[in-house]
């Protein structure tokens, strides 16, 4: 664990891989040190955001270093099923990259359990990691200016669901009618860190 400075209100904890991130994030989320107002998990780091009126960075760093990571622990036990029409524009490219046919991409994508590791990019956009399988796909050489809401996409070992129309560089394999981010619903975001996800092929 390396604790890197991030100005006067935050610390960036750098770890060796995503598993370590999730283990530390689960522990900190379950037992937040006093004065910590937000936690931002990412691929290799957890940003710990403090309220400087309530604590000091030294106290928070000491608390983080004392925290025992909880491997295998999840922030929630919730499971979500996402119905997908596998008609994405990049499905053939993804299949070619993995050296299989498009049907096998669908079988693998629906055949494994995915877990929301962290969020970012847009409200409700979760980065999902697979329980098994190699999904190390590159981004598109040039990002699309408009990716429709509900697009199911792959890149860099992750899969994700675009919560709303936006630019995007991930490979599109399908779409869902399920609203993954809906402000009229509680909770608004379906794909929160720790939630397990199954993709189900529909036509």
């Amino acid at each position: 664990m390396r604790v890197l400075p991030s100005g006067s209100t935050a610390l960036l904890v750098e770890l060796t891989d995503l598993d370590e991130v999730l283990a530390l994030y689960a522990a900190l989320e379950e037992d937040r040190p006093p004065g910590v107002v937000d936690l931002v998990p990412a691929a290799r780091t957890v940003l710990v955001v403090t309220d400087p009126a309530a604590t000091t960075l030294d106290a928070v760093e000491a608390a983080v270093r004392r925290t025992a990571p909880r491997p295998g622990r999840r922030a929630t036990a919730e499971q979500v099923e996402v119905p997908v029409v596998y008609d994405g524009e990049d499905l053939d490219d993804v299949a070619a990259h993995l050296g299989v046919d498009p049907g096998e991409v669908v079988r693998r994508h629906t055949g494994t359990e995915w877990t929301v590791a962290f969020s970012g990019f847009a409200p409700g956009f979760g980065y999902l990691t697979p329980a098994d399988g190699a999904w190390d796909l590159p981004r598109r050489p040039s990002p699309r200016t408009r990716v429709p809401a509900g697009s199911i996409a792959l890149a860099g070992g992750f899969t994700g669901v675009y919560p709303r129309e936006s630019p995007g560089g991930w490979q599109l394999v399908g779409h869902t009618d399920l609203a993954v981010f809906d402000l009229s619903r509680e909770p608004a975001a379906l794909l929160r860190p720790g939630v397990r996800v199954r993709f189900v092929a529909v036509s």
Partner: protein, 279 residues
């Protein structure tokens, strides 16, 4: 319910409060007033709770009509036409308050006793322009509800605070997580150069023009969390200083941070103004 009617929004006026801390887990940033100190002062002067919503006008231009007698105040950038700047006063029913263009500073905060009571989104009334959350920017004809008074009015005639300056501004520079991704020379340049705020700046951040910052490490950085004050160095070498509507994570190295207390003053910088970062 007493209300304010928007006759003209000026270049950009949004509703802002303390924002949405604690929601980074679902990819939602904090947002809130760009100049938190000025917004907090405005609320205090009309006896509001710290979390009450105010209006954030960018380069003045906001024209409001009171539909009831309302206690109001403006803070931050001083606009001609505001007789209530840093000095709360009654806006009588049927009368208008018209903010001219401030000679210095960028953002003016208008607080009304009781607070602007538009609907909350995810616990806050702030407009987050990057995430597309919260109420839309104000338009002519909007009718803004005003909440019930919550606290005592402090009875201050004029708050003795300095106006945002028009010239060069110096703020404190602190280490960032990837300071060492810059060459040693570039690290020195960051803290010694004169940076000019460009016109491509907004509530998300200030795009700064100055000497190109050379990177020592050119690896791809997996996205990592950041907060306001972060100085991010994209491949162009021209740094971005993030403000209230900063993204939750960023994929370019953060080479330094402006001290949080000083970020408020950065939120008052106009295009063309210069900024120095001092260690």
């Amino acid at each position: 319910m007493s209300v304010l009617t928007v006759l003209a929004p000026g270049p950009l006026t949004t509703v802002q409060d303390l924002g949405r801390p604690g929601l980074a887990g679902i990819g939602v940033g904090r947002s809130g007033a760009c100049d938190r100190a000025s917004a907090a002062l405005a609320n205090r002067l009309v006896g509001n709770e710290p979390g009450a919503a105010v209006l954030e006008a960018t380069l003045g231009g906001l024209v409001l009509r009171a539909e009831a007698d309302l206690l109001v105040v403006t803070t931050g950038a001083r606009c001609p036409g505001s007789a209530v700047h840093d000095a709360p006063g009654l806006l009588r029913a049927g009368t208008t308050l018209a903010l001219g263009t401030p000679p210095a500073g960028l953002r003016t905060y208008l607080a009304v006793r009781g607070g602007v009571a538009v609907e909350r989104v995810l616990g806050s009334r702030s407009t987050d322009l990057l995430a597309g959350l919260g109420p839309p920017a104000l338009r002519a004809g909007d009718v803004l509800p005003v909440g019930p008074p919550t606290g005592a009015v402090p009875g201050i005639d004029v708050a003795p605070v300095p106006d945002p300056p028009g010239g060069e501004v110096t703020v404190r520079l602190l280490p960032g997580p990837r300071t060492d991704w810059l060459t040693a020379a570039a690290q020195d340049v960051l803290g010694s150069a004169t940076w000019t705020v460009t016109a491509e700046s907004n509530r998300v951040g200030l795009r700064l023009d100055g000497p190109r910052l050379e990177r020592r490490v050119s690896d791809e950085l997996p996205s990592e969390g950041l907060v306001r004050g972060a100085l991010q160095v994209p491949p162009s070498g021209a740094p971005v200083l993030f403000l209230a509507d900063a993204p939750v994570t960023g994929g370019y190295p953060v080479a330094g941070y402006v001290a949080d207390d000083d970020v408020d003053r950065c939120g008052q910088l106009r295009p063309g103004q210069t900024l120095r970062l001092r260690r």
